[in-house]
């Protein structure tokens, strides 16, 4: 290995950032990993299963945490954001702002604090479908394994958790801190967010009962989700038997996201499959424009097309309205058979697209984004490297592949500096 010259700053602790950090550190380079949430894992930690194997994302994440824990080359900042980056490839200065978690690393996850906590908050891990206490563990497999407090929800003067904690782990007076770091290389891996489906007015999200987006669907399926893995719809907790999936909800649409989000077809096929596996009576309809299942994913698509209770309809959904008994009604064209379809279902899942986490956000001056918020390598003027879905819409496998390559680009910058 070339002589050690500088560190690599990786911004974002989801699957892409975690991968870049680990791959570079295992070569032997020093990495600073910054994650804005209290726990690593990002979006994938909220997925129930990956396509095409229907395997649990927590499995790969846990292997990565096992790689991370003993690796002294990686310094991890959670609850933290990089607020400024100045300089150029080989010599950057970055400022990391760390919000107080109010629980320190003496926490033993014993859970005594939640027994006494009087306040609740919406559970963002489950997209607000249930509540946690104001002091909470993000989820069972969260890493770092440490409780956090949503201080805004604490009643004035309440110290019940402090009194209950036998381990001196709670610091209600903790303050924000900032850390200045000097690094040779910066990797942006801040990921994606689901497109705000409420902006697609005709699809009824937010107005019509039981129209949800595809990321929420993952939590409804998860055994550790708000419904304990039973497919119950949000408005009345009725068991869901008949589901319509609406593809390109936002994607491939000049008014919303002009690009294809690359993953939504596979996500819906996966969700259709796990619903059918759990419930042999379930009926599924998927409204699509093109079914995009590249490479070996075609095998997966073929399996699902063979299920006679899954109907694929080529056609764009015109609108979704509320029918009787809180059932959404999907009105769509059927391009192959001609005419329109009117379908009443128990629940609609909008296959919402992937939006860059940086779209519409202010970003440090050192980072250039294209009109869709993606960090395109070709427009970087000063060597900032991007990895994963902040660079292009991608499935997990491609994001990991890209992040592995990004680790090498970062190393090259360190070596060259």
């Amino acid at each position: 290995m070339a002589e050690q010259k500088g560190k690599i700053l990786v911004i974002g602790g989801g699957i892409s950032g975690l991968t870049t950090a680990l791959e570079a550190a295992e070569v032997g380079y020093e990495v600073i990993l910054v994650e804005k949430n209290p726990a690593l894992g990002g979006r994938v930690s909220r997925f129930y299963q990956y396509f095409p194997k229907l395997c649990p994302p927590l499995c790969g994440l846990e292997i990565n945490y096992r790689r991370l824990k003993p690796n002294s080359k990686i310094q991890t900042f959670t609850d933290s954001e990089v607020v400024s980056i100045t300089g150029n490839a080989g010599s950057y200065k970055a400022t990391i702002k760390t919000n107080p978690a109010y629980v320190n690393d003496k926490c033993v996850v014993c859970d005594k604090c939640t027994d006494v906590c009087p306040a609740e908050r919406d559970n963002d891990h489950n997209y607000g479908l249930d509540k946690t206490k104001a002091i909470y563990l993000p989820h069972e497999m969260a890493w770092p394994a440490r409780f956090v407090i949503d201080r805004a929800k604490c009643p004035d003067g309440c110290t019940k958790c402090v009194d209950a904690c036998d381990y001196d782990a709670i610091e209600l007076q903790a303050q924000e801190t900032t850390t200045e770091v000097e690094v040779a290389s910066v990797v942006y891996a801040t990921g994606w967010k689901p497109y705000d489906a409420a902006k697609i007015e005709n699809l009824g999200y937010g107005n019509v009962s039981n129209v949800i987006n595809n990321v929420t669907m993952e939590r409804l399926a998860a055994g550790n989700g708000p419904t304990k893995g039973v497919m119950l719809r949000p408005s009345d907790q009725k068991k869901v038997e008949k589901i319509a999936f609406v593809q390109c909800a936002g994607s491939r649409d000049e008014n919303h996201l002009p690009y294809c989000s690359a993953i939504c077809c596979l996500a819906s096929l996966k969700q259709a499959k796990y619903v059918r596996e759990a419930n042999p009576d379930a009926e599924i309809y998927i409204f699509y424009i093109d079914l995009r299942t590249p490479g070996k994913y075609e095998d997966f698509a073929a399996q699902i097309q063979n299920d006679e209770k899954i109907t694929l309809v080529k056609g764009k959904v015109a609108k979704i309205t509320e029918g009787a008994g809180q059932n959404p009604v999907v009105e769509a064209e059927d391009i192959l058979n001609g005419g329109m379809v009117n379908l009443e279902v128990d629940m609609v899942v909008l296959a919402t697209g992937m939006e860059s986490s940086l779209r519409g956000q202010s970003v440090p001056e050192a980072v250039q984004v294209d009109e869709n918020g993606f960090v395109a390598p070709s427009i970087q003027k000063n060597g900032v490297i991007a990895a994963g879905t902040v660079k292009f819409p991608a499935d997990v496998n491609s994001a990991i592949q890209d992040s592995t390559g990004a680790a090498l680009k970062a190393i090259q910058t360190v070596v060259g500096s």
């Binding site: 290995m1 846990e62 070996k296 192959l336 991608a394 390559g405 680790a407 090498l408």
Partner: protein, 719 residues
Amino acid sequence: MEKKIGVYICSGCDIDKAIDVEGLEKVATNEMKAAVCKTHPFLCSQAGLQVMKDDQNNEGVNSFVVAACSARYHQEDFDFGAESIVVRAGIREMVAWTLELRNEEGVVNEDTQMAGEDYIRMYVARIKGQNIPQPYLLESTDKSVLVVGGGVAGMTSALEAAKAGYDVNLVEKTDKLGGYAAGYKSMVPPQPPYLGVVPNYVADIVSEVEGNGNITVHTSSTIESIEGEPGDFTVKVEGSGAEFKSGAIVLAAGSVPYDVSKLTHLGSDLDNVITSAEFEAMAKSGAIKTKDGQSPKSVVFIQCAGSCDPDHLPYCSSTCCLTSLKQASYIREMDPEAKAYIVYKNMRTPGQYEDFYKSQQDDPGVFLTKGDVSAVKDESGKVAVDVDNTLLGQDIQIKADLVVLATGQVPVTINEDDSFLNLQYRQGPEMPELKYGYPDSHFVCFPYETRRTGIYAAGTVRQSMDVNAAKRDAAGAALKAIQCIEMTARGERVHPRSGDMTFMEPNLQRCTDCKRCTEECPFGAIDENEKGTPLPKSARCRACGTCMGACPERVISFDDYSIPMLSEMIKAIEIPEEEDEKPRVLAFICENDALPVLDQMALMRVRMNPYIRYIPLRCLGGNNLVFVSDALSVGIDGVMYLGCKHGDDYQCHFVKGSELCNERLGKVQETIGRLSLESERVQQYEVSMNDAGPEKLPKIIDDFMEELEDYGPNPFKGF
């Protein structure tokens, strides 16, 4: 090293609400003869850790049994340096948080207490069998990378590794670099704006490679042989005649178009029906012509020519839609009056390529329709293409001067007779295949992991992809190659046991040359001599222990993981008398997936069956059938194996471990038959990370317990 064992029990985290820790101390000191045993109310605190450090410094304790939380937590805190051994008896998770608590009078539950005491016995037994890992260090580690294939993927891998400071040997079988994409007229845009084709950039990569002093190019050359291990491969090249050392290898041998002669139903035998490769070559040469030399006024592109077709290539070739869109632009550029028709099943232009699709769609001379091509035939000098099921269900016919079949991508490795790596390995010369000629990998989370340590696939030999994706892919493979070199130089295993210093070590004096280890290693790490005696290549070892499980003579060990160690753990379990009606079940549990499920159950405080004792395995592949006879002969009533899914959609991180465990259990009757016991007493179950919660794992266990009741207690109890 003379071991001085200290047992440190944490009574915090409500452990003492379930367990009488004094009882545990008695087991540790009186029964298991630990030199030191201490209890602390907050063992992971600075004060708690100080107690242990003081004993290390003052009492000479060098072997620490931490009876506290599971190994998932505080791994870095319970570290007492390279000269000491630490084992983690996770009594918080396996006992205090998942079994019955003391009753209202504060009296401990007898079963809970027995479990706690057993884990003290088991982990003291374990630490007695563990040694400090002595790393496998090569005399010198070669840090150069060998790249096989001089196309875009191979050249990019070579350049990326070279730019990080590594020497590269790049071997290309033809007489020049560039590969398949060098023959393209233009390229699909690699970066924004994605609005039209861009000039071919392959020549730029070629000159960059040729100008890079770290890269040695061997053209008109193939690999004659590769032997050795990461950090020390010996490579012989046929052609250039060179022989050199390499530390790691990237296989980027690429793909070929699908054999079009098999597509006669699409008119492949007709004069004016050509492949996209032939069309590209014509366009590159500057003249797109029909057979009789005319400039075509109309061209039909038929998508999925072979791809997405169960009779040909069941997979999607990922690149043909983009290629046809690109080629449609050639016709339009050549002759503004000419028309291009693209007949597709699903237009696949993922991500930002959507803009490229739209830019072609906006051209009024490019017609796109979904449809199924039902016939392609000659018709008075033109080619007639019948298309069914187009939009609105109509059937149409398009008459064109030229038809282009968008043929799919086939990895060159599809033909088993062809050789690329010529590995001098006991398990064969090439990469084990998963499906369709593509190498096996742990798809999704760890795409570069292959079954040959230190050898990584990149580009279209790994999976179908377009040329821009192949460039990205190549960078990742180059990273894995240099990472393997550096980890090998430090004596560490690579993924997934990254950083582990142990490796398989056979005691050859007791080896019977049965070859099971050399055959079963999922990574082909063990060669053999003519007699069949194993010749381990330790830097290829991934430390899963599959060989240890395979060995009928039980002669394979790791420094801190061995059959005697696990057998002693089994024998340490106290077996109650039959009349106590307290069965005992041993559960071997995969530490990658199933064990963290137990951690989750503990956080949920799901109370589980108290008669089970868990022993983690690095992988179920480490299961040796001797464990079954050890367990049953001491009176354990049943043995469970809890691990990953196997089969096509396997989840095993060591690819074959859980499958091999299952195969071995198919032969368990031979072991059990000698004891006259029922084979149903031994079963393997799939447990995934999603199986936490009160419904799943507890039910698997309860059902097994119920089944055991039918067979009654193990008659060997008390022997």
